[in-house]
Amino acid sequence: MKLFKNCLLAGLTALTLLGAAQVTTAQETDQVGRSTYLEALKGKKVIFVPISQGMDLNQAWVVVWQRHAARYGFSLEVRDPSGDTNAGIRAMQGAIAEKPDLIIVQNPDVQTYARLLKQAQAAGIKVLQVNMQSATQTDSYVGNDWIEMGRLEMGELAKHCTGPNAVSHKVVWLAGVQTGAANIYMRTGIDEVLKANPELQLVSDQPADYMSEKARQITETVLQQHPDLCGIMGIWDNAEVGAGAAVVAAGKQDQVTIVTNGAGSATGCESIKNGLLDVIFNFNAPIQAEIAAQQISELLQQPDRKAGSEKTIFFGPITRVDKTNATGRNCWKLDELK
């Protein structure tokens, strides 16, 4: 009986000690640097000034960033000018006046915010630019390598529209907004490919202004002039569906190759399946957003680093998507990102 009592006592003591030891271990095994990280991010203020929050890529970015913000305790405010450049300037001015810890900006063109970005940096606010750059370089840029994008798209057309089997060497570049960073840099890439493939003939170079109806009108007119058109390249899948509609209406979907780029949302994949588009160079907006989120946390963790003192650039991945791989992660839906 006494033995049993002693055993029970010993067992209980052991258990208590073990439990205490476990508590102590739990207190001591905080992930290295995590609390410092949380401390650094907690209560920090980030303002995002997009071009328009109605675009698929913007929605993906913000969903991802909001997830980070909620998890790590910083605030993210979106000031959406909804495609209006003047409203964008006001949003930027307002953001600078509020002195947040970080401004994220998607530039409508290379000039509009150039001075405002300098002002922001002078006021000690760090600036992260996403996907659309300004003439002013700031702390960080995360987004596409647009020159490479131009090369890839025109390169794709070069594959189809050169050589003896090509229907013709005629190609079209449906631009976006001519002063936009994407447009300017893509053009550099396009010119490189055109130089390397002198037989390619650029028969039309018109901006569709990211509008599907404008893309349709230009394509319809060009198809009348060049019934043997071989390829069309564009700048945003949601606009080039208009070009696709014009090609389908002319019954030339087997003749004309339509190449564009996009954020990788499911609507783009649908357009490929519906035969409106052939190839989308998918820059996967959710992955871009994750890269940008790393930049957000880095910039917020370095409060003593002077704004604009170190400038970095991160290019996101680009995946070629056609009807063979228009599935799964190449076709995200917003709800899946949340």
Binding site: S52, G54, M55, D56, Q59, S82, G83, D84, Q178, V203, S204, D205, Q206, P207, D209, Y210, M211, S212, E213, A215, R216, Q217, I218, E220, T221, V222, Q224, Q225, N238, A239, V241, G242, A245, V248, A249, T267, E270, N274, L276
Partner: protein, 392 residues
């Protein structure tokens, strides 16, 4: 106002112009007075009945087309200037550009202006009544986006389109009431309403671009179908224009629109139901804008609500003003809209073929507009005899 101040060929109507400035209620006296007017031998009186002094004879009759033919010789109106410019451009492009004159390209020109033209018919209708409707593009994109949005709940798409039409009509009704009853100047009322409509749409739909279901037969037909080789979009535009032309010229209501536009105060004083007329106008223009949106949905399978931020609404106004419908109301008609639309169509097509840059296209378009207005100002100078209250 002294009746004698009316135009020289107005004498036949003087007897009915001595209207009692009685505090008649809208709509009560209008009908009977109109009957008296319609019984006049030349049948033109309805349009000019309430028009008081200060209106030039030719202008008060605009739209009926009869005054011009009654005059010896051809009056070089702005409409004719635009026709002349279009003809010159057409000949130059035909001579210099390959395939410009092909049947395919002519149809492409018409197809490409069908949306602009349809919107311009609606805008022209409002401007004739001395209004302006800056909500058209907002109503178009939000109405169509709304119908796609409710179809994503599982509602049958055709039913959803009808729901969209109802929403659009309600917006038009609200705009009309703001203009006619609350008497907010239309330019401000519609500017504000356009912004609220678009804003509400943006909050509800989340995305800028909404795609219609891909298996709707009639929608595909609107986009790609043809009747006797003519694209459906062109046929719809022509139908809207023809209906509007008939409505404006042949119906009593149409004549009342001219009367209201020419001199709203006089129209009201003489007992025309100006408020219901104005409200109806905005409902109709909203429905026309919606029709244009459906054409676009058929053509490109989706609707881009960012169109609200584009210059489309100004292009619509450009077509209306270019065609010769004065912003001061009471003049012009569907023919002017068609003339303006065709000029813009030819110009855009030619410049696209010539591969002009966007900036130079806009520059050329504005220079042509300015040129047309300048030529009109030289040919038909304005002075106190021809100007009208409310001229801008």
């Amino acid at each position: 106002m002294a009746p004698s101040a009316s135009g020289p060929n107005c004498t036949a109507h003087q007897k009915i112009e001595i209207a009692p400035a009685a505090p008649s209620r809208d709509g009560l006296v209008g009908g009977s007075r109109l009957k008296a007017a319609e019984e006049l031998p030349d049948g033109r009186a309805a349009g000019r009945l309430p028009l008081g002094a200060g209106s030039e004879g030719g202008r008060t009759l605009a739209g009926s087309g009869k005054s011009d033919t009654a005059r010896p010789g051809i009056k070089m109106s702005q409409e004719l200037v635009v026709v002349a410019i279009s003809a010159v451009l057409f000949v130059v492009f035909s001579a210099t550009l390959n395939n410009f004159l092909s049947q395919g390209n002519i149809l492409a020109i018409l197809k490409n202006v069908s949306i602009l033209g349809t919107l311009a018919v609606g805008m022209g209708f409002i401007v004739v009544g001395r209004g302006i409707d800056l909500t058209m593009v907002a109503v178009m994109v939000v109405g169509v986006a709304f119908s796609i949005w409710i179809s994503t709940w599982g509602v049958d798409f055709t039913l959803a389109v009808i729901c969209g039409a109802i929403l659009v009509a309600v917006i038009g009704l609200f705009t009309g009431i703001m203009v006619a009853v609350a008497e907010i100047p239309p330019i401000f009322a519609t500017l504000a309403i356009a912004s609220s409509v678009y804003g509400s749409g943006r909050i509800v739909f989340a995305s800028d671009v909404l795609y219609a279901p891909s298996d709707i037969g009639w929608l595909k037909f609107v986009g790609n179908g043809t009747i006797l080789g003519i694209p459906m979009s062109v046929i719809i535009f022509a139908a809207v224009a023809a209906l509007m032309g008939f409505f404006l010229r042949k119906t009593r209501f149409g004549r009342l629109v001219y009367a209201t536009g020419d001199n709203p105060n006089a129209a009201r004083t003489t007992g025309l139901p100006t408020r219901p007329i104005i409200v109806t106008q905005y409902v109709i223009s909203a429905l026309i804008a919606y029709t244009a949106g459906i054409i676009m949905l058929g053509l490109v399978t989706g609707i881009d609500t960012r169109l609200y931020n584009s210059s489309l609404i100004y292009d619509v106004l450009l077509v209306v003003v270019l065609g010769g419908i004065g912003l001061s109301g009471g003049q012009g008609g569907v023919r002017n809209v068609i003339v303006g639309t065709i000029l813009v169509g030819i110009l855009t097509n030619g410049m696209t073929i010539l591969n002009f840059s966007y900036t130079s296209q806009n520059l050329i378009k504005s220079v042509i507009l300015l040129g047309a207005l300048a030529i009109d100002a030289i040919i038909n100078p304005r002075d106190e005899q021809t100007s009208q209250s409310g001229d801008i």
